[in-house]
Symmetry: C2
Amino acid sequence: MSLDAILSRIDRELPQSLDRLLELLRIQSISTDPAFKADCDAAADWLVEDLLNLGVSAEKRPTPGHPMVVGHVEGNGPHLLFYGHYDVQPVDPLELWDTPPFEPALEDTPNGQVIRGRGSSDDKGQLMTFVEACRAWKAEKGTLPCKITFFFEGEEESGSPSLVPFMQENAAELTSDVALICDTGLFASKVPAITTMLRGLLGEDFTITGPTRDLHSGMYGGIAMNPIRVLNKILAGLHDETGAITLPGFYDDVPELPDEMRAQWQGLNFDHDSFLGDVGLKTPAGEQDRTPLEMIWSRPTCDVNGIWGGYTGDGFKTVLPSEASAKVSFRLVGQQDPDKIRVAFREYLESNLPEGFTVEYRVDKGAPASQMSIEDPAFEKARAALSDEWPNPAAYVGCGGSIPIAGYFKDLLGVDAMLIGFGKDDDQIHSPNEKYDLESFHKGIRSWARILDALSRDET
Amino acid sequence: MSLDAILSRIDRELPQSLDRLLELLRIQSISTDPAFKADCDAAADWLVEDLLNLGVSAEKRPTPGHPMVVGHVEGNGPHLLFYGHYDVQPVDPLELWDTPPFEPALEDTPNGQVIRGRGSSDDKGQLMTFVEACRAWKAEKGTLPCKITFFFEGEEESGSPSLVPFMQENAAELTSDVALICDTGLFASKVPAITTMLRGLLGEDFTITGPTRDLHSGMYGGIAMNPIRVLNKILAGLHDETGAITLPGFYDDVPELPDEMRAQWQGLNFDHDSFLGDVGLKTPAGEQDRTPLEMIWSRPTCDVNGIWGGYTGDGFKTVLPSEASAKVSFRLVGQQDPDKIRVAFREYLESNLPEGFTVEYRVDKGAPASQMSIEDPAFEKARAALSDEWPNPAAYVGCGGSIPIAGYFKDLLGVDAMLIGFGKDDDQIHSPNEKYDLESFHKGIRSWARILDALSRDET
């Protein structure tokens, strides 16, 4: 059977596939930092070139930020669109990396070989699983199995500012029968998953200012209100003693998990002790009356992602600073409206500012949560294909992170998105020493070949 | 009368005195930052050279940190010791300076001429008022009026780590009849003061660590406890709703202000509205049942001087960081024991760490409060001399800052210290755009000439 020939070719040509990925990983495409603008551009060029080699009519498409890469191949059967992102997270703190983040290499570990380097798992390695599956298919059969659109973004790690306008302007071109998104993970080692629930995100980045200048805490300490003290009180007040978030109305649009889903999740036997233990933690920190899987998949959260103020250098400076700053984000679920939560947060913050204090907000970042309609038969076909490749059946799962693209496909183009990926919990994405298991890369390519077969075979 | 001749010479030679100060201010003697070690050394060399020119047998004396400068002149009458420090505070945030911090210059302002630059008020300008008074005296009379020891430190802004050992090792040499310390301020414009109460200081610089690595808040948000959240809660809990500090036993050794002192302070008619208004604040932030002067002179405080954790760069990074850090300081009064407060703080902090979290402490900085015994007749003589120079009588006042040297003279050498200085509240010490009024410099030199006269004249 021809699928077997394709799978054999994937196995045989894995070293070449890996070389190509390492090449892409060497490009320092950090999208949040303007210093790496040229690198982001270079990553887009590299992908265009690679798709052209595959016979895809691909091009770099400008945006006000980093470019999109869009490519098409014509064909019969359903129109599939594949999305991935070529930008990566910043690498600080650099001193915690054991190897340079942009000098990727294959590494032996007690759990098998891994590809080490920034972007290996999030998302360049995952993006390339699909491209390599297409390459093997093309090499074996001379043509791809159906009409495919490739759609790669370079701003995912910085909030995708150009994505919605681009999708709106190019709606006809991007509207497909189903969107395949490779930016999620396995449920557990060797347990594949299709993610059907994604949390949304609201980010706030702000500075509160009290005194008009930095003060000497000897002269003013006691009488002058310290902005760091004000900030601490505001941030500490965001959670109550049970771990619940205190903003008025915050839980209004948070649905209870359907019993059926709750039962399926219980069947997954999630080992939260080792999930937390792997990163040195012990006690789940969320709402005390929720299960650990609910905490990370179906409940909203609030976290301070960064805080700074006053003197932070070596030694001591008894300063009472003029200002204090924080970056705060909320993971949203169900029908929670980012705009409504933002209003509630800002009202809470401003009502806690002492007289004369001011606040300045910097970014405005928000996306609602997404939920996929798994009634589309493509979902069951893909699940069966994944179950064929891996030693365990594939599960429908939730995801704590935000992948707003999934919602955009539904809302802007009316296209259902299937989130399938091969990352693992210990991939250290967004952290030093990011890695992607060689098994994830290899079986990821094979999985896409099987899914391409399943989705294209029965349709017409 | 010969004092008049000295005062006239001081007036006449003010331009030369100012030139010498500007030269000293150009030396970047930031003691907390190891990068400026050579600059600190250069400042010490400059002072040795200047004292030698004055006929003082001066030398640079090594310590494990920055050197001391010690000089002696023999003479009849009482033995006076003069203390000042040649090191200065760091200059960040540099972008808030209107002129480069180490390019000092005379500047016209609506309130008269000021000497602008780091260290102009704290403490090089103040230190030089005494040196210039001695210079004028020597030039006019050929000799200084009594035995004088000059003692200049280079680590005052970094907690004076070498001071106590140096004073202990050189106790005989430094023991004098009275110590004169020029590192404090006028009570108000044209109202001189002798500071008789100084708050102590306890500083803590620490990092709390939770997860063993930075986590992705999408994957771990909700279930993993965020160290910034823990830190916010700990720091927010240090004050209660009335502004009081919550550490158990914190107020045990805090004395009530004697009625007599309270009455004198009320007579000073402190205008806290304009004191706060000048720096953009409105409401006193201390304990609600205390007067503003108590808040800054006789009540203990707690302030966060620095806080940092997570991603603080441009853009947004949805990281759940491994650690969060803060620098916290307490201003101490009365008999509060820094060691006891440190224990109480650490017990409070550690009892609020979630299971599995750790804390690392970096510095260990503490000095108790000091109170001078104003029964020594030298205090009244100096007060009369100050009252002669200025349009208003001199006051005995408190000081919110810590000048541990005053306590060391008493405790280690049995010497009473007289704290007399000419700084003003708006000098912006420890802040960008530090300045020293030309009037403070000029009348400060004249004040010391009068005090030298008063203290040496009647003694034998």
